[in-house]
């Protein structure tokens, strides 16, 4: 396949990038790692007359942790960086793990977490953790900045809440308290280089053997990654026995209606949501 012609612009500041994006609204695409941009353009999945590269903009590759704010991941921070960062592994191992299970080493060396969510594929591996942990998305537009809660970020397949001229500058994941644990489970056929058949992220808070808060998020079972509040509700206020976890897993299964495609059927996806919700909650528990 041949890459169609487009104009490549390396923006030197966020303001310039936002202005260009607004000016060429509908005809321009933002590029960070390009791993979800160039292949679909080559395959004619979508077209762009302008590609606005962010890589020359200073400061977008931030990766920091603040006791109050949490883990801040810049738009240019690569998945490979997240996978290997001692900071991420210590403060939020589920995020490091989710980065590690994406595609291949080569792709992770270029691709970014922010790009992964902006591509808004239902099966993206970054979103379930962000949903389960209530992340915030920092956005820059021509008229200033705003924060979008991750729960409001995804609108559909390849559709996000970003308005014309807006660019995601970073994602912030709140800190995990001592009594909070999180996990992500990806289910795919291959151990690498594969898209998730389903993904499940869980975050739980335990006090005196009782679950006081929980969130469960699911990937690849709807047009966007979703939260499964019914599953969380089964966990909150209870001792997490096998029976309780099974009921939550059942609730997660019943709260999604995936499609059948060449990768898996809807009934298999549903059943795997049940199995991996159970395993994700148990993996959280094992960390105490």
């Amino acid at each position: 396949m041949v890459l169609p012609q487009f104009e490549y612009i390396a923006a030197s500041s966020l303001e310039e990038a936002c202005k260009l994006l607004l000016e060429h609204d509908g005809k321009a695409k933002v590029m960070a790692g390009a791993t979800d941009l160039i292949p679909p353009m080559r395959d004619k999945v979508f077209t762009a007359e302008y590609v606005i590269d962010l890589k020359k903009i200073p400061g977008l590759d931030e990766l920091s942790y603040d006791e109050k704010e949490g883990l801040k991941i810049g738009a240019l921070t690569t998945l490979r960086t997240l996978e290997h960062s001692p900071l991420v592994k210590e403060k939020n191992p589920a995020v490091a793990y989710a980065a590690k299970v994406i595609a291949s080493t080569q792709i992770r060396a270029k691709g970014t977490l922010v790009g992964n969510i902006c591509n808004a594929s239902p099966s993206n591996d970054s979103a379930p953790n962000l949903l389960a942990q209530g992340a915030k998305v920092n956005v820059q537009g021509v008229d200033g900045t705003r924060v979008i809660p991750i729960e409001e970020f995804f609108l559909g397949v390849r559709r996000t809440a970003l308005k014309p001229g807006e660019i995601v500058t970073s994602v912030v994941i709140p800190p995990l308290a001592e009594d909070e644990k999180a996990a992500y489970m990806k289910f795919a056929v291959r151990k690498a280089m594969d898209l998730a058949i389903i993904g499940v992220a869980a975050k739980i808070k335990m006090k005196d053997g009782v679950c006081t808060d929980a969130r469960v998020a699911l990937g690849a079972v709807a047009v966007t990654p979703i939260l499964a509040p019914a599953a969380a509700a089964e966990l909150i206020g209870k001792k997490l026995t096998d029976e309780v976890i099974d009921k939550a897993a059942e609730a997660a299964m019943n709260s999604c209606s995936p499609i059948s495609d060449i990768r898996a059927s809807k009934e298999y996806r549903k059943e795997m949501v049940r199995v991996f919700t159970k395993r994700a909650v148990k993996q959280c528990l094992e960390q105490y």
Binding site: M1, V2, R190, K191, A192, M193, S260, S265, Y268, M272
Partner: protein
């Protein structure tokens, strides 16, 4: 040379050095490791054009019109071929004896039979321009009713795919192997009979290098650098389709990045590159995209197999009937022999009193199937080995013992005419059983744990030469020695990545007692090197290796006949060892080979020394035409695979703890290459068993990329151990038999048998992907990919 003539001068095993010590490296290793090796895609000419094909978006269809006017106007477009450029010439096929049945047009003149069928070709100054020209060519089609199921295709009234009303409806090839005692009587006298059905799916080769060609036209000659397994067969079909004699077509095989059977057909893109090079007087390069490789080259036949088997009370297999239906897609080509082979494998690796095997290759509008590593052995052995396992379980006999009861022995002659020479099948069974820990583990298996075995047999050097050849000779080799004792080796055999150039060089160096770097090898060029029919049928090491040995020995004999009289000894008492000609009887008689050659040339008026060798296995075309009772090959290889695994019963995911592979390849000439082949076979077999599946809808492949066509990665590979030190074959070159193709066959059935044990479900179809296993364990039908 007749195969027995040279044996007097064959080196005896005690003088083997290179292949004995087995510590030499591939002759192309440095080039490949440093990236200097030249594949088709690396060949550059300053004024080279890029070619692209116009392909049918759906099929079947009738072409109503082709409008190239817009594309012609595009600056940079240098040539556009339409069906008119080829319509007066020949269609493309495979075997010369069946040239009149060739069934693939270079460019479709009227009827499009498969998605991606070749319609037009474009050459332009660069790839972008060529692709834009392709997009500008307007082809008007009328959709026609298609047929995508071979059983429906055989019904009267089904759409005719590529069939001109001869024989049975839509059947392109039929093969019936029927021999031995009265089969009805065997079934009547049997104490246990079973009737079972199996099926397999479509898989592709997924060679790292996509198919490609670079062509020039100079001095009335087409020069075509081709990523091919059969340069000489390409030369034959290209000459026919271009309408010129063969002396105007030079096909050169550069390095090839994997074939696995996918590069046996003479594809239209190469022909179009050659034709456009002629018309533009500029070199033309045509490299297929991965999607084109998936959709428009070849794939492994899906086969539906019904098997009836009769056993005696002690578990001895008495007789077998089977009916194999192969989904061939719309074209024959390298796929036609699949039909006969699908009956051949049903013999192996067991003794039978009576066989009645019928195979039909049916035309459908699915993507054309062809040869792929094992050439239907993977499908047939999957079904027939699961059939053995099922019988063992039903009769309550240990599966290893059960296989040994009927296992073939050295010297066995099968009812259908197969002469087995060396055969270590029983030893491979014992080795695999011992190494996988069968006897310690079998009574202590946990829930979800399974061990599976599978035993298979394969040809070592098919006799079929594809093109007509004297005595069906399919491998010719020449060896030239100069005044310094340096050897130049000319081989026609095709190294497609498996390392055959290295083994040919090693065989010649071994016979001549030379270090590897004193043998300079030239290969696979139809104007430069001698005739060789190609890399297929596990023939290269055995047939071309024997030809190379004979050429070296022919040179050696001539040298000895010149030197021996000087020393006053008999020529057959001399040997070449460690760079010298020596007397095996008198230690004081020895001379560096350079001095010996200088002497030879002095005595022979300055003539350099040339040795020639060839090899053939005498069969006839009866295997493809008629009786099908013949001895296919000069030797046969045997394998046992053993898998130990656990099944995650919640997800259907397999965790393969270990795969043990025991392969009877005679004597290994290059141990690292053999291990590479066996481990590669496990990888490809695992892909076939679990991961790889071409999902099609109305003939269109829905996953033509490596994202959705999921072959196993390095992380998915199990722990592997390989065993291959069994009896040397008397006829094999330095004792060798094949080690790269038959070895692919036992992997899927061994895994399937282990899954069966682990789950208690008798699976009868592939692939065993997690959802397939999960569905079966939950009693759900697997209708995910029904047509």
């Amino acid at each position: 040379m007749h195969k027995d003539c040279a044996k007097t001068y064959f080196k005896k095993p005690e003088f083997y050095r290179l292949t004995g010590e087995n510590n030499y490296v591939r002759i192309d290793a440095e080039d490949k490791v440093t990236g200097h090796g030249q594949y088709v895609g690396d060949i550059m000419f300053p004024d080279m054009l890029t070619g692209r094909m116009v392909r049918a978006p759906f099929a079947p269809a009738r072409i109503l019109s082709i409008d190239t006017s817009e594309a012609e106007k595009l600056p940079g477009v240098k040539c556009i071929l339409t069906p008119k450029d080829f319509e007066w010439k020949h269609k493309v096929g495979n075997g010369e004896f069946a040239a009149e049945f060739a069934d693939k047009e270079v460019l479709c003149t009227e009827i499009v039979r498969q998605v991606g069928d070749d319609i037009c070709a474009v050459a332009a100054i660069d790839e972008e321009t060529a692709q834009r020209a392709v997009d500008l060519i307007k082809v008007e089609y009328e959709k026609l009713p298609g047929v995508y199921d071979p059983f429906e295709a055989m019904e009267e009234g089904a759409p005719e795919v590529n069939w001109e009303g001869k024989g049975l409806h839509n059947i392109g090839m039929q093969s019936h192997m029927c021999a031995g005692t009265d089969i009805d009587e065997e079934f009547n006298n049997a104490s246990y009979i079973q009737h079972r059905d199996y099926s397999t799916h479509r898989m592709v080769h997924a060679a790292m290098e996509p198919h490609g060609a670079v062509a020039t036209y100079r001095n009335g000659t087409y020069n075509i650098w081709m990523s091919t397994q059969m340069a000489y067969v390409d030369q034959f079909w290209y000459a026919k389709c271009l309408g010129v004699p063969e002396n105007h077509v030079r096909v050169i095989k550069p390095l090839v990045g994997g074939g696995f059977g996918g590069k046996l057909d003479s594809y239209s893109f190469g022909l179009c590159a050659a034709k456009m090079a002629e018309l533009t007087q500029r070199p033309v390069r045509m490299i297929l995209t991965r999607e084109e490789v998936f959709q428009t080259t070849r794939n492994r036949h899906p086969i539906y197999m019904h098997i009836d088997t009769a056993f005696a009370e002690n578990g001895k297999m008495l007789a077998k009937k089977c009916y194999h239906v192969l989904d061939g897609g719309p074209y024959g080509g390298s796929g036609v022999a699949a039909c006969a082979q699908a009956t051949l494998w049903a013999n192996f690796p067991y003794k039978l009193n009576s066989v009645d095997f019928l195979a039909r290759r049916v035309y459908t509008n699915n993507p054309a199937a062809g040869a792929m590593r094992g050439y239907t052995a993977c499908q047939v052995h999957f079904a027939h080995d699961l059939n053995m396992q099922y019988a063992a379980d039903q009769m309550g006999i240990d599966p290893v013992e059960f296989r040994k009861i009927s296992a073939a022995d050295p010297g066995y002659v099968a009812p259908a005419g197969l002469h087995i020479t060396s055969c270590a099948y029983k030893e491979t069974l014992d080795t695999a059983a011992k190494e996988i820990g069968w006897y310690e583990r079998k009574d202590k298996m946990k829930d979800g744990e399974g061990i599976g075995f599978a035993g298979t047999g394969f040809v070592s050097g098919t006799g079929f030469a594809v093109l007509e050849a004297p005595n069906q000779s399919s491998a010719c080799v020449q060896v030239r020695l100069n005044k310094r004792g340096m050897c130049t080796l000319y081989i026609g055999s095709h190294d497609i990545g498996q390392g055959s150039d290295t083994v040919m060089t090693a065989i010649v160096a071994e016979e001549l007692g030379l270090p590897m770097d004193m043998v300079k090898t030239f290969m696979s060029d139809t104007f430069l090197t001698p005739w060789d029919s190609g890399s297929y049928g596990s023939r290269v090491t055995f047939l071309a290796g024997n030809a190379a040995r004979r050429a070296a020995v022919d040179a050696k004999r001539q040298l000895f006949e010149t030197i021996a009289p000087i020393w006053g000894v008999m020529p057959e008492t001399l040997e070449c060892l460690e760079g010298k000609v020596i007397s095996k009887e008198k230690a004081e008689l020895q001379m560096p080979i350079g001095d010996a050659m200088f002497k030879y040339m002095t005595i022979h008026g300055g003539d350099e020394l040339v040795g020639v060798g060839s090899y053939y296995h005498r069969t006839d075309n009866s295997q493809y035409n008629g009786e099908n009772t013949t001895n296919y090959a000069p030797a046969y290889s045997f394998s046992t695979g053993a898998a130990h695994l656990t099944v995650d019963k919640e997800t259907g995911v397999l965790d393969i703890d270990e795969f043990v592979f025991a392969h009877d390849c005679g004597r290994a000439l290059n141990r690292r290459a053999v291990e590479g082949q066996l481990e590669g076979s496990i990888g490809m077999g695992l892909g076939y068993a679990v991961y790889e599946h071409n999902i099609t809808k109305e003939g269109k492949i829905l996953n033509p990329n490596f994202r959705d066509y999921r072959f196993p990665t390095a992380l998915d590979m199990p722990k592997m151990r390989t065993f291959y030190d069994f009896t040397p074959d008397e006829e094999g070159p330095l004792g060798a038999k094949e080690a790269g193709e038959g070895s692919a066959a036992p992997v899927a059935p061994a895994i399937a048998n282990a899954v069966n044990m682990a789950t208690g479900v008798y699976f009868t179809s592939l692939p065993l992907d997690p959802e397939h296993i999960w569905r079966a364990m939950n009693g759900m039908e697997d209708d995910r990919h029904s047509k």
